[in-house]
């Protein structure tokens, strides 16, 4: 009963027998679902490492010069468990790099990208399954390099996550750890590029018959645009990293100037290279989260996404504009006023499509019938927290306010609301939503809700506290902020912010317990469609078989056909799957507005 188009796709993607040996099945697997889970595990482990580092920073700001409890003797035996200035700079540097490149990126892009893309577009696997496997193992090498950096004599990188030279050359950070971390960034970039090429190709070539671009679930749009940005801009970071390594070990002076190199290079060149990558990176990390919200929130509001085309157009606009706003990170470097003002204009412009995306989500909930299951709580939480992050960005994209706020804790609070709250809580939204599909079991709702409230309130107060501290002028990255008289009044604010951070960290235990208990223990089976969702992955078994779909589906409607009275009359359900044929079905409206 298959259509000619289906037969063509079946021929292109024949069903292969699943691997039988343990190694081929779980370790050197080319199955996108297994690779997705491998990225998930690798990312979650480093999320813990990055979280512990964050707790060390918060401890330092609450109780400088006091012995670090629990871990002090273990991690810092030489200083009697007290964090020293040199340790501190390594701690905040590695916290940033690990969270961005080795924790959130693998979960948000590696795990969801791999697991979801073929399932959501109706394909049997990625376009290049072997490349996919290489991408993961390359990533694992980069994580190994990070661990190796921790074991070196002078410790890991200490020049800040932005790695600005000349501090990041041997003038400022002589240890081999800094080189290993730069190398790790390069290697993880290679992994991301392989993944990106694969994602872009897969979405273009392997969409099931009928899956037009305007029927793609928003998660797919987010991941696809992210992959395009990755493919274009990660190589820029890679080249900057190589030039930096040459400066460090081969005597070149690309980025060294000042007394060490009177006829030397230009430190600002590095900043341009870094931020040409670095600002798209912000969108690389938020686009998948926006996409996830774009599918999760309609599902739980039981209402089609509001103005789907507007969201898609806005996401594309953001992707294009993301490349021309990066200069707002460099307003105080002494750039030409005209250039700075141009960057400010684009920065202000990019707020419009971002607002459209957020307001579309709010309009989706408006008039819906919201069900507050854990994924929806996390989705709404992401929306609120990201909203704060986006709005506070207005103050930093503006040159005169940035004159005061640049490099203060206000910046730290702002980008944590977007990157930590937007991307991390966005990833959690996705994890709670697709967990039943990934593992075939249901997570405990009660633990999930406890986890949500600890996370939401914790993040709100921790990053809110940082915004307040920055508003009062406290610079970022200070080992002991209270050296400054004008910051001394913020001692209790910093301490309270730390208490919330510790609570936030402990609250993640609810997730760890829930996750491990469900994955490895007994839990109720999820069934095919755990949430009454409409996209293609919910029309196959949980977890899906090796070949994903017994028959390649034919897509007949947009991604959010929810609460259509006509569908209810025909099926008795309030939703219709994207690939579900209905006899005498009306012209679908979801996604066609």
């Amino acid at each position: 009963m298959s259509t000619p188009a289906q037969r063509l796709y079946e021929e292109l993607q024949p069903i292969h027998p699943p691997p039988t040996s343990f190694w081929k099945k779980y370790v050197f697997s080319i199955d996108h679902k297994v690779i997705g889970k491998q990225f998930l595990w690798a990312g979650l482990v480093f999320l813990l490492v990055g979280g512990v580092l964050a707790m060390m920073i918060r401890w330092q700001w609450a109780f400088p010069y006091r012995k670090l409890p629990v871990l002090g003797d273990l991690l810092l035996p030489d200083s009697g468990g007290v964090i020293s200035p040199a340790t501190y700079q390594a701690v905040f540097t590695m916290h940033g790099l690990i969270m961005i490149f080795f924790a959130v990126t693998p979960v948000l892009i590696g795990a969801f990208g791999n697991f979801l893309i073929p399932l959501m577009i109706g394909a049997r696997d990625m376009a290049f399954p072997k490349l996919n496997m290489y991408s993961f193992w390359t990533f694992l090498v980069s994580q190994g390099l990070v661990i190796a950096a921790f074991l070196t004599e002078l410790g890991p990188a200490g020049a800040g996550w932005t790695t600005y030279p000349p501090l990041s050359t041997r003038i400022g950070t002589p240890g081999i750890g800094q080189s290993l971390v730069i190398l790790a960034l390069f290697v993880t970039g290679v992994s991301s590029t392989m993944g990106a090429v694969n994602y872009v190709t897969t979405v273009i070539r392997l969409r099931a018959p009928g899956m037009t671009y305007m029927r793609l679930p928003l998660t797919m749009w987010g991941l696809w645009l992210t992959a395009i940005l990755n493919a274009i801009f990660i190589p820029v970071l890679g080249s900057a990293g190589i030039l930096l390594l040459l400066d460090r070990h081969f005597g070149t002076q690309f980025f060294i100037a000042g007394a060490a190199a009177p006829r030397g290079g230009d430190p600002i060149l590095f900043q341009h290279l870094f931020w040409i990558f670095g600002h798209p990176e912000v969108y690389i990390m938020i686009l998948p989260a926006w996409g996830i919200l774009g599918d999760v929130i309609p599902t739980f509001a039981r209402k089609p996404h509001h103005w789907y085309r507007g969201t898609v157009a806005s996401m594309v606009t953001v992707t294009v504009l993301s490349a021309v706003v990066y200069g707002h990170h460099m307003f105080v470097t002494g750039m030409s006023p005209l250039l700075g003002e141009g960057f400010m204009l684009f920065t202000l412009l990019i707020s419009a499509p971002s607002m459209i995306i957020v307001l579309n989500l709010v309009f989706t909930v408006w008039g819906g019938s919201p069900r507050l299951d854990t994924p929806m709580l996390f989705g709404l939480g992401t929306l609120v927290l990201f909203g704060i992050g986006g709005l506070t960005g207005l103050l930093l994209g503006d040159i005169s306010m940035d004159l005061y706020l640049h490099d203060t804790m206000f910046v730290v609070g702002h980008f944590h609301f977007t990157m930590a709250a937007g991307s991390f809580v966005g990833a959690m939204t996705g994890l709670y939503f697709w967990f039943p599909k990934m593992f075939g079991k249901r997570l405990d709702e009660r633990l999930g809700k406890i986890h949500f409230w600890f996370t939401f309130v914790g993040l709100l107060f921790v990053f809110g506290g940082q915004l307040l501290a920055g508003y009062a002028g406290q610079q970022r990255r200070l080992f002991d902020p209270f050296q400054y008289t004008f910051i001394q009044g913020l001692r209790s604010l910093n301490r309270w912010t730390s208490y919330f951070a510790f609570a936030l960290f402990l609250g993640q235990l609810a997730f760890v317990v829930n996750f491990f208990r469900t994955v490895f223990g007994e839990a109720p089976a999820a069934g095919e469609n755990a949430w009454g969702a409409t996209t293609l992955e919910w029309a196959t078994a949980s977890p899906p078989p090796f070949h994903n779909f017994d028959e390649i589906p034919v897509v007949v409607r947009g991604p959010h056909e929810l609460s259509n009275p006509e569908v209810a009359r025909l099926t008795g359900r309030d939703f219709a799957g994207q690939g579900e044929p209905l006899a005498g079905a009306p012209a679908p409206a979801g996604g066609e507005a």
Partner: protein, 270 residues
């Protein structure tokens, strides 16, 4: 051989005129003691009020739509109507024009008229010119002395101690010898990176005598947190006295063999 000029500095430090740095009260913006900081402050207040309003309205919509419907109520089959899309676009357009537009226009005025207007500041005959050399982990400042030229024997050189008069525009040109630093005086609302191999400028006009802190805002190594200097704002008379005393000491302390003390560049137009 930096000892000699630094010995002179300690004499100067002993003769400090202003009161000690006062802590700030409360959580808000630090006291503004500059002529033009109010432009930044009022823009910050405008933006904070605007985003608080936007946030409150959107949050209220979200909370209302979650609260008003129970689980059983059926959702509207509504992927967006022409009306709701216009409403949304109208809201976004209004915010973009009113908020973003105000920010853009006012910032252009502020930057071109005041904060990046070095020629305007220097046109004032009373303008004070200072060169600052940032290095791990201190600020060295240089005043040109009576000859008006930098890097000559009559220069006054100070460490972590910059003095300026009230009521005159101050123009600072700043560079770094090692890594990137950032010159930051919260009470004046100014910040500018000190870049190795490059001379950057910043300008302000102080109004309230007293001692204020200079901080480093760019991570510059393990002791970044200790890179703290004092900016003393003096009355014009006090400033003149200090300049005369310091100039006399500087001439006596000048050591032609101390190459490390001979930094400084010809004043540039930025």
């Amino acid at each position: 051989m930096r000892r000699i000029p630094f010995a002179a500095l300690s004499i100067l430090a002993a003769s400090r005129a202003g009161a000690a740095v006062l802590p700030e009260r409360g959580f808000g913006l630090p006291r503004d003691v500059s002529l033009d900081g109010r432009h930044i402050d009022s823009l910050i207040h405008f933006t904070l009020i605007a985003i608080a309003l936007i946030f409150a309205v959107v949050l209220a919509m979200l909370v209302w739509s979650v609260a008003r419907r129970g689980r059983c109520a059926s959702a509207a089959y509504d992927p967006g109507s022409r009306r709701s899309v216009f409403l949304l676009l109208g809201g976004v357009a209004a915010i973009s024009v009113v908020v973003d537009g105000t920010l853009f226009v006012r910032t252009l005025e502020d930057m071109n008229g005041i904060f990046w207007n070095f020629s305007g500041a220097e046109a004032n005959p009373a303008a004070v010119r200072i060169e600052v050399n940032a290095h791990q982990w201190a600020w060295t400042a240089r005043y040109a002395g009576p000859d008006g030229k930098f890097n000559t024997p009559d220069d006054i050189v100070t460490l972590n101690d910059i003095r300026v008069p009230t009521g005159a525009p101050v123009v600072i040109q700043i560079a770094s010898t090692d890594v990137i630093h950032s010159f930051y005086v919260p009470n004046l609302r100014v910040k500018r990176d000190a870049m190795p191999g490059m001379v950057n400028g910043l300008t302000f006009q102080a109004q309230v005598p007293g001692e204020y802190e200079i901080g480093c805002a760019q991570h510059c190594g393990p002791n970044h947190y200790k890179m703290r200097g004092i900016l003393t704002v003096l009355s014009p008379e006090q400033y003149r006295d200090w300049l005369a005393t310091a100039g006399a000491i500087a001439l006596r302390a000048y050591d032609p063999d101390d190459a490390s003390a001979h930094w400084g560049w010809e004043w540039r137009s930025l």
